[in-house]
Amino acid sequence: MGATLYDKLWQAHRVHEDADGTTLLYIDRHLVHEVTSPQAFEGLRLAGRKPWRTDSVLAVPDHNVPTTPRGQGVSDIVDPVSRLQVETLDQNCKEFGIREFTMNDPRQGIVHVIGPEQGATLPGMTVVCGDSHTSTHGAFGALAFGIGTSEVEHVLATQCLIQKKSKNMQVRVEGQLGPGVTAKDVVLAIIGEIGTAGGTGYAIEFAGSAIAALSMEGRMTVCNMAIEAGARAGMVAVDQTTIDYIANRPFAPRGELWPRAVAAWRELVSDPDAHFDRVVTLPAEAIAPQVTWGTSPEMVVAVDARVPDPQQVSDPVKREGMRKALAYMALEPGTAVQDIALDKVFIGSCTNSRIEDLRAAAAVAAGRRVADNVKLALVVPGSGLVKQQAEAEGLHEIFMAAGFQWREPGCSMCLAMNADRLEAGERCASTSNRNFEGRQGAGGRTHLVSPAMAAAAAVHGHFVDVRALETETR
């Protein structure tokens, strides 16, 4: 029987395997940010250990960095606790000889944006980071997953992790996506279908003609949210789109290594007779733009639907969960999604802050104005290089003319560790990945959407079906 893409990646990285399947897995790329690493570096120091392979590590501050002007460097971080965390990363990288893109380096950005952008994420790699959205990098036919801080220390010290193999799941999206329907809508629809724990214990391979038709940016958006379906790792097979994206990036192989690497990468597909423990298929045509209504990404409906009614649900734990979510979100069952008005809009995060995302949002914003009831509409590019590219295309002018704020790169209001946040009771259309209680600020209410849907919500002040905007006059 053939092997899945996940089987192949696993097999290639086994250093040792015990009889019970406990495996020592080799890690090729270790991405590090300021929040989950200080205790790991401290652990190394206390034990008198050194990093095993510093050239495998790439560090960047992203969670705590301000998105407002920061030309003075770290001293522009107003919150002293945030500042200390960024300074601690800088010091640790210096002490241990690790490559870091510091806050004002033009290559700085969200760790899951810069890895691929630099070609530091390559097909066939194992990629880890102390961050659950590391699944993003699986878009390149890599085995990429988030780890805790103890494991960050373990990888630094040994270049390996002790793991057990997950089961194989394939999620197929077949057919052609409708106009205005994006990778974000695809992955939200998948999570709506299999649930937030549907992928627990599995590595998910996303496949099918609709996935193959996505750009690398789109595939990253889909793999990014594999973790919101419970799967530590999401991945997509290598094809020409993958290879074209990587060519000539700073960390990508060059010269005589390039054709050798490409030949090896072309093997990174599941064999036709590979076995998956579970297969889920969604027809692309049935996917509409999605909007989450609750406090878990699985609480999602199409933009033309209504907020569901817990009374219709028989499972008591689920029903109670829906009631709590509706109370937190201050929503009534049966409300039309398009009647939900917004206070803030956030376009950014490791899910949707790449150039294609900004183009999609700008296409909607062009010639329109942010609605009066929207107090703040933020656009936060995923990296300094995404920002440069967007500015070269004039996207920043479109956003600013429409009343959006154009900011410096970072994680920003996805998790509000910096100053960008929701106040209690505020409602936000967000292109990020989590609508958990308090995620964007204590008491804040998050609705997850695509960049185009977020821009459309900003200019209308409430959710609208982006598919209907085509015919609207500006």
Binding site: V15, V35, Q85, K318
Partner: protein
């Protein structure tokens, strides 16, 4: 890491599914560069009536009387009963550090999110998976009987109820060994340094672009 062998402790119930790590420890406390001190902020948004910030004296903040863990009968609990998909979301190990710092050594649930589950074992916290029907009974027993305790025996892989019932649970062999002995797994892995070096030499030949 602190050893885990057996525990006889008070049980507290948290009866909701999909409790995420943002709820277990909110983001503002992740700015700490330390590994300890997260206990007062466990379930911070649910536990207190006012928003909190790091560095604040949390003992002065008003407690939410409706939050179950604030009930005096659960003070000192070391075992948490939870529902499906406990610990979903972010990889923050701070969630386990907060539970541990607040005194919890065991979490019992029908399912856990993978990264959280893994993080528990690195910190001497035992996640125990039991099936839904058993869990429903435990929730009912905790509600019915103030001071309800459970015995957790890792060696025997058993929970024991006050009326003498034994509930078996599964635990991965290697993780059990590390927990029982309080072992640092980095030290264990470094015993295989030679194999890691050999693997690297082979891979450098096969795929040199991975070592740029």
């Amino acid at each position: 890491m602190e050893k885990f062998t057996r525990l006889d402790a008070l049980v507290a119930p948290l009866d909701r599914a999909n409790v995420d790590t943002d709820a277990i420890i909110p983001k503002q406390y992740l700015k700490s560069v330390k590994r300890s001190g997260f206990g007062p902020n466990l379930f911070d948004d649910w536990r207190y009536l006012t928003p909190g910030e790091p560095g604040q004296d949390h003992s002065q903040r008003p407690l939410n009387p409706d939050f179950v863990l604030n009930q005096p009968r659960y003070a000192g609990a070391q075992i948490l009963l939870a529902r499906e998909n406990f610990g979903c979301g972010s990889s923050r190990e701070h969630a386990v550090w907060a539970l541990e710092d607040a005194g919890f050594r065991v979490v019992i649930a029908p399912s856990f999110a993978d990264i959280f589950f893994n993080n528990c074992f690195k910190n001497g916290v035992l996640p125990v998976v039991v099936d839904g029907a058993v869990l429903d009974r435990l929730f009912a027993a905790v509600a019915a009987q103030e001071g309800y305790r459970l015995q957790v025996d890792l060696q025997a892989q058993q929970l024991r109820t006050p009326d003498g019932e034994s509930i078996a649970f599964e635990v991965d062999e290697f993780r059990k060994y590390c927990l029982l002995n309080g072992l640092d797994d980095i030290g264990l892995t470094l015993q295989r340094a030679e194999a890691i070096g050999e693997y690297e030499r082979r891979r450098r030949q096969e795929a040199p672009w991975l070592f740029a």
